[in-house]
């Protein structure tokens, strides 16, 4: 729809000079793209660009994807490039890794990352470690992607966040997009990367539209893996997050701004390799740090950030201990009130920020 209106608007704009007196033109609406469509676009462009790229996973072809992320791809590329697999995570993840070793560039979808646990040996022992073990002889150019973390009402076995688990392992790259621009730029970079990349998407973000800047509309739009983005500049406190919670942090920042507190919100974009420079530079400016993530607190992403802050130059700039906001330390419950209180809410982030700032 956005594309069609784009086509119509340009000629109309040209005419607008003539018609200025009689017509009132509002600024043209920017292109809005959902995270789902952004991932779809990214995969489509890379499938077109390189015939070695292919997608496999459960329901990715004829069903258009369990969450419709691969909609239209099977129709366009056919059975050879878009492959429906049986329910055999360990088997098809291994097949994908083997194909990558033999020179193809597979995108292996896990319907959710919870199911990747069945295949985690292939991700870590067969994919992540192989380049190192072979002394640099055998690269594994594979992408593992799928929704990660909490959804809505899907309970404990379907709600785990794997950022810390995959982020733990050398040899892997792990990215965690928040918005559409992130999603497209990161999936394209992941596919072009010659290393195993885990792309942790978020099911609740799939349907959320975001403004797509013009550069993101290019077929060569890439977001570098390993670089965080400062989503909002601020001076009083650094708030670091990844994936869906980035949006909550921005909401918290908007609320606090009215009270005169300016938060600098950093969207990590990549879990491994982590962009500590951006985080440290920010902390050295604001002197306060809060980390926000959906995963469990123990041995989590926030724990790692805090440990590294202690080890680096930013420690001496802290005016208060660094604080973590995380998922509750429980398997995800089902009842809505319990589920809502098991993930970081905006009020929890605001509370943590105020505590850190002692206000």
């Amino acid at each position: 729809m956005a594309a069609v209106s784009g086509l119509v608007r340009r000629p109309l704009r040209e005419v607008s000079g003539l018609l200025k007196r009689r017509f009132h033109w509002t600024a043209p609406a920017a292109l809005q793209v959902t995270v789902r469509d952004a991932i779809n676009q990214g995969m489509d462009e890379e499938l077109e660009r390189d015939e070695k790229v292919f997608l496999l996973g459960e329901e990715v072809a004829q069903y258009d994807g369990a969450y419709k992320v691969s909609r239209g791809l099977w129709k366009k590329y056919g059975d050879k490039r878009i492959i429906d697999t049986p329910i055999s995570e360990m088997g098809f993840a291994g097949i994908a890794v083997g194909a990558a070793m033999a020179g193809l560039r597979p995108i292996c979808e896990f319907m959710t990352f919870n199911f990747s646990m069945q295949a985690i040996d292939q991700v870590i022992n067969s994919a992540a470690k192989t380049y190192y073990m072979s002394g640099g002889l055998q690269p594994v150019p594979i992408v593992f992607r799928g929704p990660n973390g909490a959804s809505a009402g899907v309970a404990a076995q379907h709600s785990q966040c794997f950022a810390a688990w995959y982020g733990h392992c050398p040899g892997l790259k792990v990215v965690s997009p928040w918005n559409s621009e992130d999603a497209k730029g990161l999936i394209k970079s992941a596919i072009r990367d010659n290393n195993p990349v885990v792309v942790l998407e978020n099911e609740l973000m799939y349907g959320v539209p975001f403004e797509f800047p013009p550069e993101a509309q290019s077929k060569d739009f890439l977001i570098p893996i390993g670089k965080a983005k400062i989503e909002r500049q601020g001076t009083h406190i650094t708030v670091v997050s990844h994936s869906r919670p980035v949006g909550h942090c921005l909401e918290a920042a908007a609320v606090l701004s009215k009270e005169g507190v300016e938060c600098e919100v950093i969207n990590m974009r990549t879990i491994r390799p982590m962009d500590m420079e951006t985080i440290e530079a920010s902390v050295m400016k604001t002197n306060h740090l809060v980390t926000v993530e959906g995963g469990w607190p123990q041995f989590g992403v926030g724990a790692e950030i805090c440990a590294r802050i202690m080890e680096g130059p930013a420690f001496n700039f802290l005016d208060a201990p660094a604080v973590r906001v995380t998922g509750a330390d429980v398997p995800m419950p089902y009842a809505k009130i319990l589920e809502d209180n098991s993930i970081p809410q905006v009020k929890d982030i605001i509370f943590a920020i105020k505590k850190t700032l002692n206000i």
């Binding site: 050879k80 292939q122 150019p141």
Partner: protein
């Protein structure tokens, strides 16, 4: 006539190592080739199997003999080096199973692909790496094929995907390589090996299903040496007919101690896959002389008598040698098992011994990889970055 010639050559080789004796041997009339009967394979879901006779040329025979002898001596050298503590960690030897690695290679092309588990030194050699690089990897030196980063279970070569430590994981990998073969459309096949122990892994059945569904050119090969570590096949598997375990996948059971049987079965299986019919399964019945690994004496779960019986009746190298000598494809002197007392003709065993000695020398003398390279090869194709060491002040550079 033969005996006289043999006597003459012995005298001459004793006297000096001169052209005269070589000319004498060269002028001996060896057969160019000979036809042998081989054991019929048990078949599963197949109307016909591999042929029951095969032709072996003198040239091929000498080549196979040399290769098997090299693998045998290399493994025995590894045993020695391990006992001297020059090799450490895991060391799984394949002596006794030489007909498998050499026979499989004889049945495929260098452009085909092969993946196996951790008893991989023989395959690493038959797929093209030198004994030198293999032993140096075992001793953890920079001249090792993986620069000392991988060790016994992680050696790679062109179209050889290791060397894999996790039992069974290599089977889906092999099916994936076969997928790539089909995707690329170049008529290549992938030999995907696993042991009798691994045959009970669930992921193997997942791989069977997908390989059959998508008609992948994958030859699943169960190298059945009767024991998964210390557990005999009867104690591990409800069905020990490993060649039938692929169910809907046709299978053959092959005498894995007879290199010609292995070769013919492999040719048959490869032709089957190349014709687009999908995967096929081969069970190679073989035997390992050593225990599961160097930390296993190998006699608590099987008898010395059993090991001795296989050695004396079914040794793959002995079987080939006997066939060749009895059919006049080669002379014993040419093949000679005992060390040469008087200098003289180059004999394969002597050459092989020397090759192994030189390689062991290298593997012992080559320096360990430089500490600076500890962080290398984390990522491929990336600019250098820093890797953390044991504490925050120790940093290693990582280069692709």
């Amino acid at each position: 006539m033969r005996k006289m010639l043999a006597a003459v050559s012995r005298v001459l080789s004793g006297a000096s190592q001169k052209p005269a004796s070589r000319v004498l041997v060269a002028s001996r009339n060896f057969a160019n080739d000979a036809t042998f009967e081989i054991k019929k394979c048990d078949l599963h879901r197949l109307e016909e199997g591999p042929p029951v006779t095969t032709v072996l040329t003198r040239e091929d025979g000498l080549k196979y003999y040399r290769m098997m002898q090299t693998v045998r001596r290399m493994e025995l050298k590894a045993d020695q080096l391990y006992k001297q503590k020059i090799i450490r960690g895991f060391c799984h030897l394949c002596d006794g199973q030489e007909a498998c690695c050499v026979g499989l290679e004889a049945g495929i092309n260098p452009t085909d692909h092969l993946i196996t588990a951790y008893r991989a030194h023989g395959f690493t050699f038959t797929r093209g790496l030198s004994v030198r690089e293999i032993l140096a990897e075992l001793t953890g030196r920079k001249g090792g094929c993986a620069k000392g980063k991988g060790g016994s279970m992680h050696m790679y070569a062109k179209n050889f995907y290791g060397g894999n430590g996790i039992v069974g994981a290599q089977v889906p990998l092999g099916a994936g390589i076969a997928l790539a073969c089909k995707y690329n459309g170049k008529d290549e096949v992938c030999l995907t090996l696993y042991g009798d122990g691994a045959a009970n892994q669930g992921q193997i059945f997942e791989a069977y299903n997908m390989a059959a569904l998508w008609k992948l050119p994958c030859i699943f090969i169960c190298e059945n040496n009767r024991y998964g570590m210390g557990t005999s096949v009867e104690r591990a598997a409800a069905s020990t007919d490993y060649y039938k375990r692929g169910d809907f996948i046709p299978g053959l059971r092959v005498d894995g101690m007879d290199i010609l049987c292995v070769r013919e079965a492999t040719r048959f299986a490869a032709a089957y896959c190349r014709s687009g019919k999908g995967p096929i399964l081969m069970e190679l019945q073989t035997y390992r002389y050593h225990g599961h690994s160097m930390s296993d004496p190998g006699v608590s779960y099987r008898t010395r008598e059993e090991i001795q019986e296989v050695r004396s009746k079914s040794d793959p190298i002995m079987l080939l040698k006997d066939r060749m000598v009895n059919s006049n494809l080669a002379s014993v002197e040419e093949l000679k098992v005992q060390s040469l007392v008087h200098g003289g003709l180059k004999e394969i065993d002597v050459e092989v011994r020397k090759e192994i000695e030189d390689a062991a020398q290298f593997a012992t003398a080559d320096p360990e990889p430089p500490l600076e390279e500890l962080g290398y090869h984390i990522y491929s194709s990336d600019p250098p970055f820093e890797v953390r060491g044991a504490n925050q002040w120790i940093k290693f550079k990582s280069v692709s």
